[in-house]
Symmetry: C2
Subunit: 365 residues, 2 copies
């Protein structure tokens, strides 16, 4: 790799000062047309590419936003780059059926991330995505935060304390509902309303009486969904479950245990209303393994609207979040705060949609 040419090289070649070179790129109107041509030509000939580091340092702005990705699946993230590449010349293998891949991607966060990307580009920003990798979250976060003008993060990925320190310097937007009073921006969806409407559907249309809520309710979004569920159950005059069905190790990993336990206690409800699609899918798998039919024996619903829910049979009934829109809204808020600093933190709520499919007993199409 040759040493990269700098403004100095371009300036020398074009016979102007470095200031003119800089202006030729950033303030075309401040430079006479002819000299601008001169500079640009010299730059092209030398293969000059301005250093964003230097610009960021001098200007104080990087024109990049950051996103701390949510790493839901560290196991898979740890696979080395060359696994599977061992037999480059072997005959192609026939692989009749595998939807396993789509169980892991794209998830909720991936679609939100896409929204973040698209909006960043539309607004002329670059996007820096960071992930945990092997380092601890705080290190990675600082790494990203040091490179960008604003930061978007997924819920429950960063300690509030750390977040506050960063929000003190650059705008930060969290893509989840607001927890307590914080000085961070938020993009949320209508968790309560969505889950309430879905639950009402089960009660009114499918005449189900014995509904169970499944999922970890620690996250604030999940808690809101549980709240929406209870509101619907209460409004229908049904018995309100004290608590959600869950497992300390996570519903997804221990779906079999949960199902086995309910079966043993002959306590299978008429419907499993799950806090997330992923939990619903894991539960449907577990139910299938022990021969419980969905939706015949029991209805199952999710929340999010991930692609995997459309691939499985029965298709998952769920509440679809406007994921791309959430990402876009987050970026919109960040850029807004950059353009007009010292604004109070914003909280923007987006609507959701109910997607009635097969797993609740509906016959779509």
């Amino acid at each position: 790799m040759a040493k990269a040419p700098t403004v100095y090289d371009v300036a020398e070649r074009a016979g102007v000062s470095i200031a003119t070179v800089s202006f030729a790129f950033r303030r075309p109107e401040k430079v006479k047309e002819s000299t601008r041509e001169l500079v640009l030509t010299a730059a092209r000939e030398l293969g000059y590419v301005p250093s964003a580091s230097a610009r960021g340092l001098a200007h104080g702005r990087t024109r990049a936003l950051g996103l701390l990705a949510f790493e839901y699946l560290l196991e898979s993230a740890d696979q080395p780059a060359n696994s599977g590449a061992s037999q480059p010349d072997s005959a192609p293998l026939v692989d009749p059926d595998s939807d396993e891949d789509f169980r892991h991607f794209p998830l909720y966060v991936d679609e939100v991330q896409r929204g973040v990307e698209l909006e960043c580009w539309r607004r002329g920003y670059a996007l820096m995505v960071g992930g945990r990798g092997h380092a601890n979250t705080e290190t990675v976060l600082a790494d990203i935060a040091g490179r960008v003008d604003g930061l978007a993060i997924f819920p429950n990925t960063v300690p509030a304390e750390v977040l506050r320190r960063i929000a003190w310097r650059i705008p930060v937007v969290e893509m989840s509902c607001k927890s307590d009073q914080d000085e961070i921006n938020h993009v949320t969806v209508d968790n309560v309303g969505g889950m309430r409407a879905l639950t009402e559907h089960l009660i009114v249309e499918h005449r189900l009486r014995n509904l169970a809520f499944v999922g970890d309710t620690a996250g604030s979004d999940q808690a809101e969904r549980f709240q929406g569920f209870r509101a619907a159950v209460r409004a229908a005059g049904l018995r309100i479950p004290r608590k959600a069905i869950a497992h300390p190790g996570g519903v997804i990993r221990y779906a079999d245990v949960i199902v086995g336990d309910l079966l043993a206690r002959r306590a299978l409800p008429e419907a499993f209303v799950c806090a997330t699609d992923q939990e619903a899918l894991a539960l449907m798998d577990a139910l299938a393994r022990v021969g419980v039919r969905v939706p015949g024996d029991v209805a199952v619903t999710g929340f999010d609207g991930i692609a995997a829910g459309r691939i499985v049979r029965p298709i998952l009934t769920t509440v679809r979040q406007p994921m791309e829109l959430m990402g876009r809204a987050a970026v919109d808020i960040l850029i807004d705060q950059l353009d007009r600093p010292d604004q109070p933190p914003v909280s923007r709520q987006l609507p959701v949609r109910i997607a009635l499919q097969e797993s609740c007993g509906c016959q779509p199409k």
Copy 2:
């Protein structure tokens, strides 16, 4: 936003020099444990976050890689951030069936991108993703290139000339088959072998004789697939189609026209072997609209293995690329070149797998 504290602020507070602050972070072994504590405490209290711009400038390395995203769908990318967010308090709408979203995401490139991300993080790099937005490709590319230590790009997104200039400064890897002799790295899949195997399947298992290849064959990957198709057809002693079925405006957009034309000429083949999944899906839609049944009247196959192919009925038979792996391999190559400069360009080919599903006439499961 308060002004961000710098090494100077931290140094002053900790009562040391800025060099010590810097060392405390980057070369922990060079400062005494106690002073390191002192510095880190001061840093934490001030909310110090090192500026990556400054570090990049001083050190010459950014520890970030770049990816120029492929923007297959500029229309959708142009939607503003607040569309749809207008009625935040309205009741959730019921939306019985919509898989439209998954027609656009995730596509082939999105899954590759995910591989790039995961591998970057695993290796301790951040990833800068750039997209066209409104600016022209060259501008955006320079913007990204100026920020990173290495660059990954999708095929046919950047003029070779521009690429060469950048590759002269930082390692570049293109995720497609190598076109001519160029000095950039490549990650490829076995386009020829995969398409040949799939075509053979149609000929041998389904006893089809009249096969048509559909798709733009300008891209080098697509050309290889066409080549694999012809090889299989020739080996079976069948008539080799002179050229692929295509349309100047793109198969995807003009699938209806193509189908209408074939129908009018009564020239419907027994199988449409498409160069990409997206083209296959567009074709299947067009066929459905005019009442041609798949796979009853005609078989259809794709290439890529995108999620949307699993969502439609019939499920699309296709050749699955190891997309995540491609992304990982690209990063692997880049980091390798960074660690050991002045190596010759690499080209790594990955194997593919045939996914036999419903659209070719198979009965999976």
